[in-house]
């Protein structure tokens, strides 16, 4: 049980760390919104609270220091300058590292930890006392009493008078309990008066020795909370008749709620002891979170009502932003099962529709209406389920920012990571498996790519190196680019090293591109000395293997003095794509919308012949080669229908071509099903998808269709030749 709670904690930690990172990045970018600061404070605080509950002392200690500094910022006692932001960013990284160590085991980099702690301490005012955290047993049901103990409660709790009626049943004596010890325990709590009520005691003759006749009326004046008093009787619960009446209990409850209110709204209000009691019992459902015995007021996210009544402006602001949306964690496999089941549901629908159409019934209108509703529902479900599987790359990219910071700190360079296309949706598995290769490439980019600040200045560049990480969909693939503005590949050196390591013969004649690609050769490492950062004996070949393992490919292009660009092209295994549904020779197919520039219906006078079988489409005075998709795919039209609709596409090389198809039906999101393992590579086809009617449609790859089309390819060659001459 505790294991799963701990898992939940770590999962939450990840989200909280993400939020912290995001907030800090926003502040770094000039965001001065106090709510951003508050959000970070809350995130760090939640981590501290959870870590305290699990007894993760290192994490608690660090988070506390971090939080304290942030509290100063929040209270406006400290200015967020560049230096502090950098420190906070590094601290946030360290926090992530500590969470990782706590989760996966491993060693904490003590020296680094201490350095950061010391640096943070410099910002903490003298009087700040070090807090100790009581780890709380979460695994066992927490005794009510524990919740009542609020450490170092600054305010003196009110004295409370409890009238207790205690009448043991005979079973109580049977279990070896002794009223005397209970009274003794009560006496320790305050002023105790015990009065025996022997009214029920029968005459000596009538007395049954095994029965219980005695009762006590107890008056206790104590500062302890009601739950503490109840706790005394915890072990005799059910073995006695017990009633505890507080003096003016209703008042106490009101106080408790008021205290709770105060706890959530004003930062300086001391948490009153009955607060825990109230939270236990009457408080509105508090979202599950390890109970935090914290003196800070923001211990728990305020329940909605309280937040609304909170006098602070922050509540309104948070609502404006919408706050973090509630999420649900689901096993991936379950989603996949659901996707398949929905696919089947849709097929089932179309079969039903077919059956009904075949029935010999005169009036099927009613049924058809219902069937239409069924269809729409099924489509809704399908779209919803598909959206679960695909996720934006944003969290991955955010983690990468941390990698770049770490690498920069370790190499003494300054680099900033610019993320582009964070909302590109990629299949979850792909995202997960991209993490390692990206980390490696980015470290390399910082370590080998970006020059030292002084060298950069000498070269007339800004001191701060810029690395751009971008994601986009490109003709049915995901394209991830890592672009640095560093020195570019040092080709003579790369070649020399390759020769030294025996990767290429000494007299090899290589093109620039070939030299660049030597970086991916196994066992290649250009770092002059093996640095701590990259070059741990493994090189870019590991990256290449990882990318190839995902069914993708990686390329490098480099301009000396300007920088290098790594391009990772990944297939969209199960990724979502916008596609245009077309028909080609009676087959339904999908063309990735990203590659389509425009679509048009052609008329005869737009078509011009060129040579024996070349045709060009004239578009506003420009001539573009026509590529018949059916011909290129080797399909034959059975009907007389002609390809009369043209999709103007642009290839990666900038070449334009008009794909001729029979008709355009629809434009929709489709889920890509890889054809790997189903059949080998098919020229012109990138993957397949399952359409709403359960049919499979090929997703076309315009690039290779054009390459396979004799007309367009020939035209391209001709044009290139004419350009050359």
């Amino acid at each position: 049980m505790s294991g799963s709670i701990q898992d939940t904690f770590f999962e939450e930690c990840e989200e909280l760390l993400e939020a912290t990172d995001e907030g800090l990045t926003a502040i770094e970018g000039g965001d001065h919104d106090p709510e951003t600061v508050n959000a970070i404070f809350r995130a760090v605080h939640s981590i501290k609270g959870g870590a305290g509950a699990f007894g993760l002392d290192d994490l608690v200690a660090f988070a506390h220091r971090f939080e304290t500094v942030f509290d100063e910022v929040r209270a406006g006692r400290m200015e967020l300058d560049g230096k502090l932001i950098q420190l906070l960013l590094r601290s946030s990284d360290q926090l992530s590292a500590l969470v990782e160590v706590a989760r996966d085991g491993g060693e904490i980099d003590e020296a680094h930890n201490d350095t950061l702690l010391a640096a943070l301490d410099e910002y903490i005012p003298e009087e700040e006392e070090d807090l100790t955290f009581e780890p709380m047993g979460l695994g066992a049901p927490a005794p009510v009493a524990d919740l009542g103990i609020v450490p170092e409660a600054p305010a003196e709790p009110q004295e409370e008078t409890y009238r207790i009626r205690f009448q043991p049943l005979k079973e109580m004596y049977g279990t070896g309990n002794e009223p005397f010890f209970l009274f003794q325990a009560l006496k320790d709590m305050g002023d105790l008066t015990v009065k025996l009520d022997e009214n029920e005691l029968p005459g000596f003759d009538a007395m049954d020795m095994s029965e219980s006749y005695l009762a006590w009326d107890i008056t206790l004046v104590t500062k302890d909370s009601r739950s503490m008093v109840e706790a005394v009787f915890e072990f005799v619960e059910g073995l006695c008749e017990l009633s505890i009446d507080g003096e003016g209990d209703a008042e106490a409850e009101a106080n408790a709620l008021a205290a709770l209110d105060a706890m959530f709204s004003t930062p300086d209000a001391p948490p009153a002891p009955p607060a825990a009691d109230a939270a236990e019992g009457e408080a509105p459902a508090v979202p599950f979170e390890p109970p935090v015995p914290a003196p800070e007021p923001e211990a728990k996210p305020a329940p909605a009502e309280e937040k609304a009544s909170a006098p602070k402006a922050e509540s309104g602001k948070q609502e404006q932003r919408g706050g973090p949306k509630p999420t649900l964690r689901v096993e991936l496999e379950r989603v996949d099962r659901l996707i398949n089941a929905v696919g089947e549901l849709i097929i089932n629908h179309s079969m039903l529709a077919q059956q009904i159409a075949n029935l010999d019934v005169s009036d099927t209108r009613d049924v058809e209406t219902e069937l239409e509703g069924f269809k729409n529902l099924a489509r809704d479900i399908q779209e919803g389920v598909m959206a679960i599987r695909a996720q934006p790359v944003k969290p991955l990219f955010q983690r990468m920012a941390r990698i770049v910071r770490e690498a920069s700190a370790a190499t003494g360079k300054t680099c900033k990571l610019v993320n582009v296309g964070e909302n590109t949706e990629v299949d979850k598995t792909v995202i997960e498996r991209l993490s390692d290769p990206l980390t490696h490439i980015l470290r390399n980019a910082v370590d080998h790519g970006v020059e030292k600040p002084e060298d950069r200045e000498a070269a007339g560049k800004s001191k701060v190196g810029e690395i751009q990480l971008s994601a986009s969909h490109r003709s049915g693939s995901v394209c991830i680019e890592i672009k640095d503005d560093g020195a570019g590949v040092n080709r003579p050196r790369v070649k020399q090293i390759a020769i030294e390591k025996g990767l290429i013969p000494e007299n090899a004649e290589l093109t620039d591109g070939e030299i660049d690609n030597l970086l991916f050769a196994p066992g290649f490492s250009t770092a002059k000395e093996v640095s701590n950062l990259s070059g741990r004996g493994v090189g870019m070949d590991v990256v290449k293997n990882a990318v190839t393992g995902l069914g993708g490919r990686i390329n490098i292009s480099s301009t000396p003095g300007k920088g290098s660009t790594f391009t990772i092209i990944l297939p969209l295994t199960l990724a979502v794509m916008d596609g245009m549904v077309v028909s080609v020779a009676d087959q339904t197919m999908v063309v990735p919308i990203t590659s389509i520039v425009e679509t048009m219906r052609g008329s005869d006078d737009m078509i011009n012949s060129l040579g024996a079988d070349g045709t060009l489409l004239s578009i506003r005075g420009n001539f573009v080669p026509i590529c018949d998709v059916a011909g290129s795919l080797g399909l034959y039209r059975e009907s007389d229908q002609q390809a009369g609709v043209y999709l103007l596409v642009e290839t990666e090389t900038g070449q334009r071509c008009a794909l001729a198809v029979d008709d355009i039906h629809d434009q929709r999101q489709v889920v890509i099903k890889s054809l790997d393992g189903v059949c080998g590579e098919i020229a012109g086809v990138a993957a397949a998808t399952i359409l709403g009617d359960g049919k499979i449609a090929m997703i076309l790859d315009p690039e290779s269709i054009i390459a396979a089309s004799p007309t367009a390819a020939a035209f391209d060659t001709e044009r290139r030749m004419s350009n050359a001459s």
């Binding site: 398949n340 054809l675 080998g680």
Partner: protein
């Protein structure tokens, strides 16, 4: 491939009575071990794979998975099947992947004593020798036991 076929042969022989599903392809009787079959579906039009050889009919959606459909008849070098609704697709699992095989019709489930399986007599066709792992006599007709691993080779080799 030959060694593999023999091994399967051995397995079949050592087993007690095993159940086979018999079906017709181009008028000839064939059978597959029942445990090799995942399901049998009625034929429905498939999506054509461009540039595919004649014996690959296309791909079909099987509960969200894309599976290739082979025309067994064309695979055996017999005439191509004119697929219609009367035909069936036998879904089998080969090399860990589901694959559909088009057959004319499914006949019955027969129980076979492994000792009754006869080795394929040598005929003048290498393909036949590879694809047929043994023959048995059932109700006075010859039923051919298909060597599935040989019929459906690894996907790379299927496509040109």
């Amino acid at each position: 491939m030959q060694a593999e076929a023999k091994q399967t042969d051995q397995e079949v022989k050592h087993a007690e009575h095993s159940e086979f599903v018999s079906f017709t392809v181009a008028g000839q009787a064939f059978c597959l071990k029942i445990t090799q079959i995942r399901e049998i579906r009625r034929w429905s039009p498939v999506t054509i794979l461009p540039h595919a050889p004649a014996d690959v009919l296309g791909v079909m959606n099987l509960r969200g998975a894309v599976i290739p459909i082979y025309d067994l008849s064309a695979r055996f070098g017999l005439q191509q099947t004119e697929a219609s609704e009367r035909n069936v697709v036998i879904v089998v699992s080969v090399h860990g992947k589901p694959v559909g095989l088009l057959a004319e019709s499914v006949s019955e489930i027969i129980s076979i004593n492994p000792d009754d399986i006869q080795d394929t007599p040598p005929v003048d066709s290498r393909n036949t020798m590879e694809y047929i792992q043994g023959i048995i006599s059932h109700d006075d007709t010859m039923v051919r036991i298909i060597n599935l691993d040989a019929v459906i080779s690894a996907p790379e080799q299927v496509m040109p």
